[in-house]
């Protein structure tokens, strides 16, 4: 497919830019002067561009066709099933967009006086209260722009908390954790200590106990974990960490499994982040941006970023009175439009609706797991939560890998699951169907997976060269990583 720069022809236009209606002004006496560039009054000439911008020049139909063709080549939740494990690619209800497009939200400036944006502040406040109720935390900040940013913010809070008394510089991360966990810990200035998973894919309390000392700032945990398994010993785990003076961080990536059922705050977690772009139905990936609000237990409230939003005497206002605040972690108040969409989702579903969403997410995952586990290997034979991990090692004898299975699924119209993660499972396929898929869709996916398992034995080449039906078949990702071409011209 051609790039828009390649279909560009000089002189073509999709729209006419109006002539500037602000006249230039003479340098000499500041009277109107048509020969002077209107911008030059405020910008010194040495900073003004003399040449045109290198923008593509296309007609409106060419423009529309180009972007329609691009979107046709894409696969999103609006085009098909997207079981990308740990990413919670659930459907994004269109009403969310309508609400975020309301003029009261889009037509304001972040520096407007508080009394003129009471509605905007009310939404932030109520979203914060809703997230607190869902997770059992005391207070939230909406500033972090995505999940990993939330992790870093949470870890900075943990660091600031310990620095008040006795600095601690190590964070424990299980070997099944998302890669962002150790990365965020490093970014926040911690050293990570790896905790090996037990035989049943969870945390072994004794192994954790052995790692605890006065330099351990905390434990980062995803619950259910990346194997889709719930940590049954969570209360004991929390006690072990707390007794040694550490804090518990909850990675909210898998929160879609537990809404309205269990709360990280009740499990003993002190800090967490949620991904509004996963659990709360806002667009994820290229359709973002994301949002990673961070919630804390009461004793950590003073360390939250400023400003928070407070409600007093019938008025909403920004609260800068957090004496131990780690400061701002993002300009203004976070990705505000995403907060509007997430709040829309929460009030539309209500408590019972959110709970049902989690119940259905778990039910859908268990249905897929039951149907596929006989043919694909299930490395941890426990009932899953909202996602589960299969292994393709049995296909090795045909020369077929998990990557080949993933690529072949594209030919059936499905987005592949997450592959080669978590790292503790060889040839891993990590499948998360989400609650918004019908039984018919799940059955089509099951049939595709079973067909592919047969093809692996009968016609391995078919898998190794897949996909066959897409405009681009299999890009050479190894060559791209080894010899990256980072610019177009």
């Amino acid at each position: 497919m051609e790039l828009i720069f390649e279909i560009s022809k000089k002189g073509r236009r999709a729209l006419e830019i109006p002539k500037p209606d602000v006249p230039g002004r003479s340098y000499r006496d500041n009277t109107e002067d048509a020969t002077v560039n209107p911008l030059s009054g405020s910008i010194p000439s040495k900073y003004l561009r003399n040449t045109g911008l290198m923008l593509p020049e296309v007609s409106e139909p060419d423009l529309v066709r180009h972007y329609t063709a691009l979107s046709d080549s894409n696969h999103g939740v609006d085009s098909g099933f997207y079981p990308l494990g740990s990413c919670t690619m659930k459907y994004n209800p269109k009403i969310n967009e309508d609400m975020a497009a309301l003029e009261g939200f889009t037509g304001v400036h972040p520096l407007q006086p508080e009394e003129t944006v009471q509605g905007c502040l009310e939404l932030m406040y109520k979203l914060e209260k809703s997230l607190s109720a869902i997770t059992g935390m005391s207070r939230f900040t909406l500033q972090p722009a995505a999940g990993a940013h939330g992790e870093m913010t949470g870890l900075m809070i943990i660091k600031a908390y310990h620095d008040k008394t006795h600095p601690r510089r190590k964070i424990i991360v299980p070997d099944s954790a998302h890669g962002t966990n150790p990365a965020s810990a490093a970014a926040a200035g911690f050293e990570t200590v790896e905790l090996k998973s037990s035989e049943d894919g969870g945390i072994d309390p004794d192994a954790l106990r052995a790692l605890m000392d006065e330099n351990i700032a905390g434990l980062m945990l995803t619950n259910p974990n990346t194997l889709g398994l719930f940590e049954k010993n969570i209360r004991e785990i929390a006690d072990i960490v707390h007794d040694a003076g550490g804090l518990l961080y909850y990675d909210g990536a898998n929160a879609n499994a537990i809404m309205g059922i269990s709360r990280p705050g009740d499990m003993g977690f002190d800090v967490l982040h949620l991904n509004l772009h996963k659990t709360f139905s806002t667009p994820h990936g290229g359709g973002g941006p994301g949002s990673g609000p961070v919630g804390v237990a009461a004793r950590l409230e003073p360390f939250l970023p400023v400003p928070a939003v407070k409600y007093e005497n019938g008025r909403y206002s920004f609260d800068y009175d957090l004496p131990d605040s780690i400061g701002k972690v993002r300009s203004f108040y976070g990705n505000y439009g995403v907060a509007v969409k997430a709040y829309t989702y929460i009030i539309r579903l209500g408590f019972e609706g959110l709970k049902q969403a989690s119940v259905n997410a778990v039910l859908n995952a268990r249905y897929l797991m039951q149907k596929l586990a006989g043919v694909y290997e299930l490395p941890y034979k426990r009932s899953c939560m909202h996602e589960f991990v299969l292994s393709c090692t049995f296909m090795k004898k045909y020369g077929v890998s998990a990557m080949d299975v993933a690529k072949r699924l594209i030919d059936f119209g499905f987005h592949p699951p997450t592959v080669y993660f978590p790292l503790i499972v060889k040839e891993a396929l990590m499948i998360e169907p989400t609650e918004t898929e019908s039984k018919e869709t799940l059955d089509r996916f099951i049939n595709a997976m079973l067909t592919i398992a047969e093809e692996a034995e009968k016609d391995p080449e078919l898998l190794k060269n897949a996909p066959h039906t897409t405009p681009v078949t299999r890009p050479d990702d190894v060559a791209a990583a080894r010899k990256p071409v980072l610019r177009y011209i």
Binding site: Y420, F421, L423, K426, V478, A481, R482
Partner: protein, 130 residues
Amino acid sequence: MEVKKNLRYTKDHEWARPEGDRIFTGITDYAQHALGDIVFVELPEKGSALSKGDVLGTVESSKAASDIFSPLCGKVAEVNTELEDKPELVNEAPYDAWIAAMIPDDPAEAVTGLMDADEYEKYIKTLEHD
């Protein structure tokens, strides 16, 4: 999976080869096979002092990034800068694609505790059954 007779091995799949006053280190055939196509090797800094088990560098494949651990206590005397431009050498000839040459703190005991080829071969057989 090739296991070379004259080398010593760690459980994390590094090899060590004494040569003169130096010990060359790299990752094994088993490791490169498990990692898949290696796209980047992060080398240690020359002169850095490492304990056994410290992170010596990182290998990145299209699947994951993995730490390489130092098989001994010593100083990094030299690094194989050829791998910066040609990470694929680790896949093609893992036992030639050394990552660092180290000067051991205690030459007499440098490879003590590491597995020999037979032990390593038995060790990777136990992993295959996982």
